[in-house]
Each structure stands twice: as C-alpha cells, then as structure tokens.
Amino acid sequence: MQQDFNFINRSVFDLDDYSADEIMYILEAAKGMKEINLREYKKIPTLRGKTVCTLFIENSTRTRMSFELAASRLSADVVSFQESTSALSKGESLQDTVYTLNAMGIDLYVIRHGSPGSPQLVNKYSGKPVINGGDGRHAHPTQALLDIFSIWERIGSIKGLKITIVGDILNSRVVRSNLIGMKKLGASVTVCGPRTLMPGHMEEVYGCRVEYDLKTALKDADCVMGLRMQLERQTEGLFPSLEEYTKHYVLSKDTIKWAKKDALIMHPGPMNRGVEILPEIADSSQSIITEQVANGVAVRMALLFLILGGKA
C-alpha cells in the first residue's frame, strides 16, 4: 500500500471526497487504534496540545461520546458545545458561533447538525478541518466508516459482498454515506423499504439496487443492516402504523433466513427492538451491533490522528 496519503487538515464532509485507497488506509489506521482500546491504560500522548470541539446542534449522546472518547484517548483537549446550553438557542447564527469558538483556538471541529451542508459552513467560517458527525439526512461518514470497518474486520474484504440495507431510506444519512463508501470498495448494495420512505433516483445517484419487497432484497445477502424506524414518520403520513411496517419489513429469525446463512446483522443504533428488528436477531451470534459501537471509537481515533497529524 502507498504510504504517502495526506490527510493533514482535510475535512470529512462525506466519503465522496476520499478514494477507495484512502478509505482502506483509514481502516488500517483504525485497526491500530482498536488495539489501544483493548489495553488497560487506553491513552496515547499523540495529540497532546490539540483542541477538538464537538459542536452538537442536534442531540446525540452516542456519537458525541464516541468522538470525545476518541479525542481523549489521543490526549487531545475536548470542549463540547451543545444546542441546549448554547448561544444558538438565543438566536446566534452558526457563523457567529464558529467565529466565537475559533477565537478560543480550536484545531478541529466535529459537527452534528440538522441542516445538510452545515459542516461545509463550519469549515468555511473557521478555516479548520471539520468532521461531519451527521448533517440532517445528508451524510454520516464516520458511521459509514465504522460500519465498513466492522464488515471488513469480520469478512476480510468488501469487494464483491452483497449488502442489504432495510428501513427508512428517505431519512437516513447513514445509508447515503454507506452507499458511497461501500460502492467505492466494490460491494453491491441493495436498499429496501416502502416506496413512501424511498427517495427517488437512488439507482442513478448511487448505483445501488432498490427493492420494495424484503424477501427479494435479502436474497443472497452477506450482510444485512436494519435502520431505526421513527414513529414521527407515521404522523407525516408516510406509513400507517408501526405494526404494519413491522409486518412487512422486520428483521426476524424468519425473515433473515432469506439472506445467506450466517449473514452479518448490523444496526447503527439506537434500535427499536420489536419494530425494525427483533431481539432474537439483534442479540444473536450473527449480530455485530455492539462491535460496531466499539469500532466507532477506533475509526474516529484514526481520523483525528490522521487529520491532526499525530506522531505515532
């Protein structure tokens, strides 16, 4: 593998800015980071003196904790900015918030925001690298990286795999980033859900397969990912009831049989047990859902390390 990849001060808005080789390089780096996380003393001094700001304008406990742990384990200082306690709720613009934070000497921002494209804005106004921690329905590149890492670690390669993602495709940033990353690494991806939760032009934009029938979608899948089904979608008139959704799209012992034997079961969390996935599947030996969470910290450590130029 080439060794001259340069990640220094690059932002991660989405995976389309990264080549297949670069993505693999990040995964290799994450492998090293994972080893640190298994030590008794889970800390290395590599980013000492660097300051990471987690700028979370939309609620997220898991992703923020994962980033903050990742930064701490590399010895970076972490400051956290949350909507509830922030000036944004007092009407300050994102631009002014970034100017203010920047004046305090932030080296890298992690942003979670409900508006697509907001990481690009933070980068524009701060001049600092920004990692997208989820922007609306647009992208969630670190989730995609950890998903891909988890599959790669288990199976050894992404190329040629059949991966099926089931659920609310319309509202999922996880799907969009995964589609870009998985396609780049040579997987064939199928997305499945009811038509009301399926955005248009998916084949054209991502080169994926679109199925509305779960059985057809799961056929020969090496990997099956369920997505969180949100109750709000019901009041938006996108489907009539969770019961009816579950009846047609749940991942259960019965439906998972349609995929390959021992297919990996994944979910980005938080799960609605009994809605999109049954406990019998979520907690089964095929499931790598908790591994995904562990790998999230490693992948984020790798990105912070590469972008902020940590010394190995």
Partner: protein, 422 residues
C-alpha cells in the same frame, strides 16, 4: 436638451439595423439612417448595440419595510445598470401593497428617487394571506398594472375563483406564483437526484403543476387573463401549451436562472442557488429554452429577489429563497445562450422588452419615433464580472458572483436621462 446617438446597431421594428437616434427631452424625436441635426450631447455608438430599455415584469424592490435587503434607490440603480428602464415591483413588502395608499406611496418614492420607471403590482388578497380579496379596482385607479400574491399562492380554490372573477371584471391581469403548499412541504431544492443525494427535502414539480392546472381551468371559467410567473418544469409548459392552443388568455415568463442553471448548481450547498420554484432538472431546463425559442414562453422576467448577506450565509435549509437578478440578467443570458448560438439576439431582446411590455400593456419596450426615450446601449464584447464591490444592489445573492460574463450594458437612458454609465 437633445441627445444624438450615432452609428449604433439598433433593435428597431424587430430587426437589427444601423440607425441614428435623436432624443429630445424625454422622447425619441427621430430615427433615421443619418441624422445631422445639432444636439447638446452626441454619443458615438459605433460597434455597439442599442436596445429598447429592458422591461422586467417581476421584481422585488423590498421597499417599504425590508430596506435592509434593498430599497427603491439601490434596486432601481441596479436595474439601470442591468439595462432596465421599467420594472414591476411585487407587493410582498412590509406593509403589503394591497390598497391604493400603498400603491401611491411606492409610485411616489420611485418617481422621486428611482433610476428607472417602477410600475406597481398589487396583491390579489389582503396581506397576501389568501383569505380575502384585496381592493383591486381601487388599486387599479392608483395605477397598478396587475395583481399577484407572489411569493405566496392562494391555496383556497374557491377564493381564487372569486379573485379571478373580480379581476376579470376590471380587466386586471392575474399573475400567479404556482405552489401547492402541501406538495411543496418543507422542500428546499428540486425533488430530483441532487435532493436525494444531499438529503434535502424536495419541492416536486407537481407542486407547481397542479396549481397551474387549477388556475388555467379557473381562467377559462372566469375569463380572467392569467400570467404564470417563473415557469420551471416540462409539464407546466405542457399545461400552458394546451391552454394557449385552446385560445385561453394564458401567458408565462421564465427567469434567467431557470434558463441557465439546473439542480446540479445546488450541489455545493450554495444558498445563492436556492430559489422558488427551485432550479430543476436538465430536462426541464432544456424544455424551457426550447419554449422560449418557440414563443410558448412569452417573456423573460428576473424575479430579482435580494436578500441580505447574513440571511443567505446560513445553513442551506434556513436561508431564504431568492436570487438577485437585475445586474446579471442580460450578461448571463448573452454569454450562455446567445454567444453559444442557443438563442438569437433578436428573440432575447424581444423577450426582455416588447413582449413583457405588451403583456401588461406598458408603454415601453420599443424604440419608436414619439415614444419614450428608454434605451440601453450594449458592448457585446465587453466583459462583466459581478463582485460584492461592484454590485449596485444592496444584496449580493447571485450565483454569478465572481464568474466572468460577456455583454456589458455601457449606457442606460430612461426618459431621456442617463441612468447608468459604465
């Protein structure tokens, strides 16, 4: 005070011909191959093109009430720089132009301070709330040239029918911003492949089309004349074509941005590409261009919609809709359509002058003896690059910012007075 414009190529009676033009006070006194009469001022337009002053039947001057975005002075200065001598201001100001006093206020301000003629469009409904018919007839006495709830759309079909009946009664043209609010939802850009990729909510073309279909049927039943603002989709054009073939009094306009840009322009989250209706697919754009060429689309209107920097420098889904139009209109269309052979200069000029003027019955848009001395002179080889420093509009929200264009308006004359020179 006489001005003589010599040696220019003039758009005259539908064609480009070499003519001299003599202006006496605010009127065109003479148009001849050679004029030798003495004048106080002589402009040598050798190698230059002389057009009727452009006419824009759709703009937002934001005055009164939103003068942080634009006002009558900056708006009409920007218009003059773009070659416009007559513009029609939409009523969605604060307060709304829905009564004769408000109409007269805008007209007086424009007359006292303006750098071009401003015609007022009154609201269809009071406060553009879509609840009660506005005092259209009184506003007509005050001088309005049409009614529109632009930016808003009357959702109640029964009310719209009554508004159109009432407008027909006084022969007031009705201009619609076609948008079904439920179908448009919280949409940010065209409901197409870019919306799917960016995860932004889409505004489907059908949100526009169902209202156009409804209002064409209402126009047929009420005998109102209907003008569809900023048409943007293939099927919207189909509906208008059918209406015209039936002989209904239905017309439409297209904006420069819908002719020149498609949904791909939004891919970098540039809020200066965010507008309503949204920039649609390439198929839609090509159909608009074809319809402009064929005459199905009657005219070009800018929908000049200035917004302050701080409003546009927000997250994409929080920024307001609208594109700043006056200063880039001619140059962008000339550069990307005429210079590339996709549209004739004759058709472009007709669509920016005589055609829009005729739609609203304005005494404008033609160069003729005895007519108003409204003229713009263009250097078609001249380069223009809009920057935040050289724009005269208070707002800078144009996707053409920093992009080199060709086709420079070097002089604009309105009622015989020079309103722009550069």
């Amino acid at each position: 005070m006489k001005k003589l414009i010599k040696n220019g190529t003039v758009y005259y009676k539908g064609a480009f011909v070499k003519k001299d033009i003599l202006i006496n006070k605010d009127k065109i006194a003479e148009i001849k191959d050679k004029i030798t009469a003495a004048a106080d001022e002589t402009i040598d337009a050798k190698g230059k093109y002389i057009f009727p002053g452009f006419v824009d039947i759709h703009c937002h001057l934001r005055d009164p009430g939103q003068t942080y975005k634009e006002d009558i002075i900056t708006g009409t200065k920007a218009a003059a720089k773009g070659g416009f001598t007559t513009v029609c201001a939409m009523p969605n100001t604060d307060p709304v132009i829905d009564n004769i006093a408000a109409v007269e206020f805008v007209q007086r301000r424009a007359k006292d301070l303006g750098f071009c003629k401003v015609k007022v469009i009154g609201a269809i409904t009071k406060q553009i709330e879509g609840k009660e018919i506005s005092e259209m007839a009184s506003m007509q006495e005050g001088g309005i040239v049409a009614v529109s709830d632009d930016g808003h759309c009357v959702q109640n079909g029964k009310l719209m029918m009554n508004c159109m009946k009432y407008a027909a009664n006084f022969k007031i043209p009705v201009i619609i911003h076609a948008e079904d609010y439920n179908l448009a939802g919280k949409g940010q850009i065209h409901s197409g492949k870019i919306a799917s990729k960016l995860g932004l909510s889409g505004i489907p073309a059908i949100a526009e089309e169902v209202i156009i279909a409804r209002d064409i049927m209402l126009a047929e039943s009420t005998k109102a004349s209907l003008h569809v603002a900023h048409v943007s989709s293939v099927k919207a054009l189909d509906l208008i074509r059918q209406a015209k073939e039936k002989g209904l009094p239905v017309t439409c306009e297209v904006t420069p941005h819908h002719l020149l840009l498609n949904e791909e322009a939004c891919v970098k989250f540039d809020t200066n590409t965010k507008c309503k209706p949204p920039l649609r697919s390439e198929t839609d754009r090509l159909a608009l261009l074809e319809a402009l060429n064929s005459g199905l689309i009657d005219c070009i209107a800018t929908d000049h919609a200035p917004h302050a920097d701080y409003e546009k420098e927000l997250e994409f889904d929080k920024a307001p809709f609208g594109i700043n139009g006056f200063e880039a209109a001619f140059a962008s269309l000339y550069t990307h359509l005429v210079a590339k052979g996709l549209l004739s200069l004759e058709r472009l000029i007709a669509a920016m002058t005589s055609a829009p003027a005729a739609l609203l019955g304005l005494k404008a848009g033609v160069i003729e003896k005895g007519g108003p001395a409204d003229i713009c002179i263009a250097d078609l080889k001249g380069k223009v690059t809009l920057t935040t420093d050289n724009m005269l509009s208070k707002a800078k929200n144009t996707p053409w910012l920093g992009k080199p264009l060709q086709g420079k308006i070097i002089t604009t004359i309105c009622d015989g007075k020079i309103t722009w020179q550069g």
